[in-house]
């Protein structure tokens, strides 16, 4: 028999990079007596299209604003519940062994540093981290020189792997990912104003279980803070 809307767990569709944090928060919420939470992690694009075609999602947390806007335009989220949940920073990483700190600014000879190697980053037109990275390099006036040396990866994690395996001497990834990889070192952080703010928005979808609002609130409460910060996210608001 189908479970009634009351005792159905809250279903969250979230960008895959949030897995560690959300798993922990979900567990904490349940421990507090909240309804069980299940999270489906996938690419924001897939999740958005699934919600569009009627997926049983209560909460959507996107890795960028674009896919949230996509649902917003189609009235598939409750606009009033939408909020920017998390922020992140963009860093330049290098394999630990060869890492020397660099000053990231308009004068940086990034192309010279990369040499005949490649700079690994998220695919610049589709992966959010890639788009932010490209914007940052453009605003710093470095893009033209480096464009031909970009290796666009399918995700930030894949870009990071290229650096940690030594395939690429440099990479542009989120601070959250870089911090966790012992094989790479952060050699510089991009100025916050060099790229559009990195934002993970969250919202309730249109057909939700009543408990969903509760969990969204919990996500935005101080109780969720440690888990997000442990992963290196900055919590917005």
């Amino acid at each position: 028999a189908p479970a009634s809307a009351q005792d159905r767990p809250v279903t969250v569709f979230a960008a895959a990079s949030l897995k560690n944090a959300l798993d922990e928060i979900g567990a904490a919420y349940a421990a507090e007596g909240g309804v069980p939470v299940v999270v489906s992690y996938a690419a924001s694009s897939a999740l958005a299209k699934q919600i569009e075609s009627g997926a049983p999602a209560d909460i959507f947390i996107s890795a960028d604003l674009a896919w949230m806007d996509y649902l917003g335009e189609r009235n598939l989220i409750r606009a009033e519940t939408r909020a920017n949940l998390l922020g992140n920073r963009l860093v330049l990483v290098a394999p630990k062994a060869e890492a020397t700190p660099v000053e990231i600014g308009p004068g940086l000879d990034l192309a010279g540093l990369v040499g005949d190697g490649r700079i690994a980053m998220g695919e610049v037109s589709s992966v959010p981290a890639g788009r932010y990275g490209k914007a940052a390099l453009e605003s710093l006036g470095l893009w033209a020189a480096i464009e031909s040396k970009v290796a666009g990866a399918e995700s930030v994690r894949a870009a990071l792997l290229l650096v940690s395996r030594g395939e690429a001497p440099y990479g542009i990834v989120y601070r959250t990912d870089a911090a966790a990889d012992p094989e790479v070192a952060i050699v510089g952080t991009f100025p916050e104003d060099s790229h559009p703010p990195i934002i993970y928005p969250a919202a309730l979808t249109t057909e939700v279980v009543p408990a969903a609002a509760g969990f969204l609130a919990f996500l935005r409460s101080p109780k969720a803070l440690p888990a997000f910060e442990a992963q290196g996210f900055s919590v917005l608001d």
Binding site: V39, S40, A42
Partner: protein, 233 residues
């Protein structure tokens, strides 16, 4: 964490993958045999189109296949809505959808293996059965089918292995919902997307490989038995 002890979540992903792969393989096998037969023997309009359709999931990036499935078989999709209304068969965001995705992705492999076997059957033997009174369908059931068993086994094991590894179309079609559509490969993928997940991804990968190797071994053993029966007196 002990390497061999699975968390509740991992166990559920493993069991789900087993269920999805088994159901996908068994459920698509009859259709696979039929389509393989039609492609090997049929002379009908639309044969070329059928052939193309069958190969599509191989050619398309899995994500595209997933989207196509979502559009067709989703709750609001033309086929999905029809099946839900008339047969109560719902695919979207259910394990059944994962099985459908796995079946579709494995279908070209399964069909090709079976088709090759059918094409290798000596038609003179089938004709002999015909003179003994067996109708076309009886010939198929009593002669062709037993003779192509090795091909069917090969097709099934390819389909099963593909189902155990399929994730692109699945995650796109039915998402990655724990206990319902988070198969082993989806779980593995998820782990690869976060820092520190490599270890878990590797464990799950090994489990997945072990299962598939077992399926492979069983199929090889069965195929050898069948072959021996035919070859030796």
């Amino acid at each position: 964490m002990d390497f061999l002890t699975l968390t509740e979540e991992e166990r559920s992903a493993l069991l789900l993958s087993l269920r999805v792969s088994t159901v996908a393989t068994l459920a698509s096998l009859p259709a696979g045999i039929l389509v393989a037969y039609l492609l090997a023997r049929g002379r009908f309009h639309g044969r070329a189109l059928l052939n193309i359709l069958v190969h599509l999931p191989l050619v398309l990036p899995p994500v595209v296949t997933g989207f196509v499935l979502l559009i067709l078989f989703g709750r609001r999709g033309p086929i999905g809505a029809f099946l839900a209304e008339h047969f109560g068969l719902v695919f979207s965001f259910r394990w059944t959808g994962a099985a459908l995705a796995a079946a579709v992705m494995g279908f070209p492999l399964m069909v090709r293996a079976i088709r090759l076997s059918i094409e290798a059957v000596d038609r003179r033997i089938e004709a002999a059965a015909g003179t003994l009174g067996a109708s076309r369908i009886a010939v198929f059931l009593t002669i062709t089918l037993p003779l192509i068993l090795p091909g069917i086994l090969a097709g099934a094991v390819l389909g099963f292995a593909k189902a155990m590894g399929e994730f692109g179309a699945t995650i796109t079609f039915v998402s990655n919902i724990p206990g319902e559509t988070r198969t082993l490969p989806a779980a593995i993928y998820t782990f690869t997307q976060v820092p520190g997940g490599d270890w878990n991804a590797m464990r799950l990968t090994i489990i997945s490989v072990v299962v598939s190797v077992a399926a492979l071994a069983i199929s090889e053993w069965l195929a050898r038995r069948v072959a021996r029966r035919i070859e030796a007196g």
